[in-house]
Amino acid sequence: MKDVLLQVKNLKTYFFTEDGVVKAVDGVNFEVYRGETLGLVGESGCGKSVTSLSILRLLDEKGRIVDGEIIFEGKNLLDLSEEEMRNIRGNDIAMIFQEPMVALNPVYTVGDQIMEAIILHQKVGKNEARKKAIEMLRKVGIPEPEKRIDEYPHELSGGMRQRAMIAMALSCHPKLLIADEPTTALDVTIQAQILELMKELQKEFGMSIIMITHDLGVIAEMADRVAVMYAGKIVEYADVKTLFKDPKHPYTWGLMNSIPRLDVEQEKLKPIPGIVPDALNFPPGCKFHPRCEFATDRCRSEEPEIIEVEKDHLIACWNWEELEKVKKIRRIGDAV
């Protein structure tokens, strides 16, 4: 039996704006096992970042978690006081962000920003913290860490900055790392290096990772299991091999058709038609139906719940059985 580190149950995070209520996350369930990587995929605005911010309770003033539980090592994070929550942030659960350029404070040195968390959580002195910070910088592959520690973020390249971010996040050896599009802003070659580094460090520290991305390539590289999100809900949830071999939800198909492949003849990439619906004005029924070529009357009126259709393979679609036939004809899947 695998050991559950984090369990998110029926999470609902709404934003109360002047224009109305935005249901950014609307009933999301998933769990993260110790030592594994869970991928959270979806287009921009599907609620994946809001999910991760909800876990750390770092939503801005308009966002509120209206329902659900976030159980981390047996404790519901939503029941903790702000002070108890601060002890978890950076210490048990750390986070890295998309743009290392803007995620590091420009007016403090890299070392200062790394040492801050170490001093706070590990209750050590400045000198000890500095040693640990240099050690972390070396671990993430920054050359001459003794020199680099006193540099400011703008003196580092994009890749180095993201490495510094990772060093900062891992400085207190968290049990869970939430990586929100950690490679999106980087060059492709640097992307691969950063992913490789994260995998190495995951093995070394034995931590779990929630990998948030819109890039299925990153998922294939990193994740053990995947949750595909669309418009605030998880529409497909399976382990990574199953998902690539046997995707069942038409949205997942769409995502896969939009990545170029060398092994199959493709005339051109097929993007998913339409755009992500406006969160203030979701369509009735299944939120994907306006963009789904298989939509039926039922899809337009009733919203499907996510159900387990095969062992450990969950999807939210009324027509999944019919779609199995279509899949054979169109040769969807088998991508791994």
Partner: protein, 344 residues
């Protein structure tokens, strides 16, 4: 950092040269005849036969422009800014004897005006759109909307006429006697500092009593400006991703705000604060008039109404020097706050 300051300092003479050209041009607008008559308004001793010729020779008024400019600059560098009609003394002395009163008020006002203003802005931003924020903004904008002489007169009416707490002027009659006496050492020219050096605590308290009302008036009238700049800058910074990073590390909110947000938010505030400090040093005409302080602002206002050209030109030079040096200080403070600027 050092090279940044040196580069800034190297620019100084260039800027001062430009400023001097403009002021010299203003003087030239008077035309040669008028100029002689302006220069000749000197002390009585110069009003003898041949005085005009001497002045024409001294200032090179019959020479071509470049020579005239060189002579003018040469005289300024020697400290000769001409004769002040209003002050009935050389312009340089007139300015230097009034500046301490302005400087004293400025120094005492900087902390309440600038630093309290910044603090109020931060408080306002933290309580964004809640009661305290609304209250502070309304409170400050009311101050900003008051004409300074009206508010100043209110202060005098309430705190002097009614309560008798804060009299106008800069010292009481008794203290002024002590300050004027021979044994009172005048080292800085600032009464509050000199009195402490002389061990006259009573004089110090008396000077302070005279400073409170103008300082409160300045602070209240100027807070709105610095509060709003600080507040909007803070609000912008608080939305930045590095603030989220800081929170995600588990830092307590006051560290997030006072360490991570404030320093970034202060970059635009430094400009405004610098301008305010320069304005304080240049003297505030109305505050000095209302509270009867013999400062620079008041002197310049009188000089302007009396068409005292030499004092006006001298004052303009003095202000430009203040402005250029003040901007230098602002530039250096930028570099201290923001490491990215040091490299440029």
């Amino acid at each position: 950092m050092v090279s940044y300051i040196i580069r800034r300092l190297l620019l100084l003479p260039l800027i001062l040269f430009g400023v001097s050209l403009i002021i010299f041009g203003m003087l030239e607008l008077l035309g040669p005849d008028k100029l002689v008559s302006v220069y000749i308004r000197g002390p009585e001793s110069e009003k003898v036969a041949g005085a005009a010729e001497r002045i024409i020779k001294k200032y090179g008024l019959d020479q071509p422009l470049p020579v005239k400019y060189a002579k003018w600059v040469g005289n300024i560098l020697k400290g000769d800014l001409g004769w002040s009609l209003v002050g009935k003394q050389p312009v340089l002395n007139a300015i230097l004897s009034r500046f301490p009163y302005t400087l004293e008020l400025a120094l005492w006002a900087i902390v309440p005006v600038v630093f309290v203003g910044i603090w109020l802005g931060v408080v306002s931003a933290i309580h964004h759109n809640r009661f305290l924020d609304h209250f502070l903004r309304v409170f400050a904008i009311v101050g900003w909307s008051f004409p300074d002489f009206v508010f100043g007169l209110f202060m005098i009416l309430i705190f002097y006429s009614k309560l008798g707490w804060f009299p106008p002027g800069y010292l009481s009659y008794e203290s002024e006697e002590i300050v004027r006496s021979a044994e009172f050492m005048k080292i800085t020219g600032l009464v509050t500092i000199d009195s402490l050096i002389n061990g006259r605590f009573d004089v110090f308290l008396d000077a302070l009593r005279h400073l409170i009302a103008p300082v409160i008036t300045l602070a209240y009238l100027w807070w709105a400006y610095i509060l709003r700049i600080t507040r909007s800058s803070m609000l912008e910074v608080l939305r930045k991703e590095y603030i989220r990073t800081a929170r995600s590390k588990g830092l307590p909110e006051d560290v997030v705000i006072h360490k991570h947000a404030k320093r970034n938010a202060l970059i635009p505030v430094a400009t405004v604060a610098g301008q305010m400090i320069i304005a304080l040093l240049a003297g505030t005409v109305i505050i000095e008039t209302v509270f009867n302080r013999p400062g620079l602002g008041r002197f310049m206002a009188t000089a302007a109404t009396q068409l005292d050209y030499m004092s006006i030109i001298g004052g303009a030079l003095f202000y430009s020097l203040l402005l250029v040096l003040g901007n230098l200080v602002v530039d250096v403070s930028y570099a201290i706050i923001d490491p990215r600027i040091r490299l440029k």
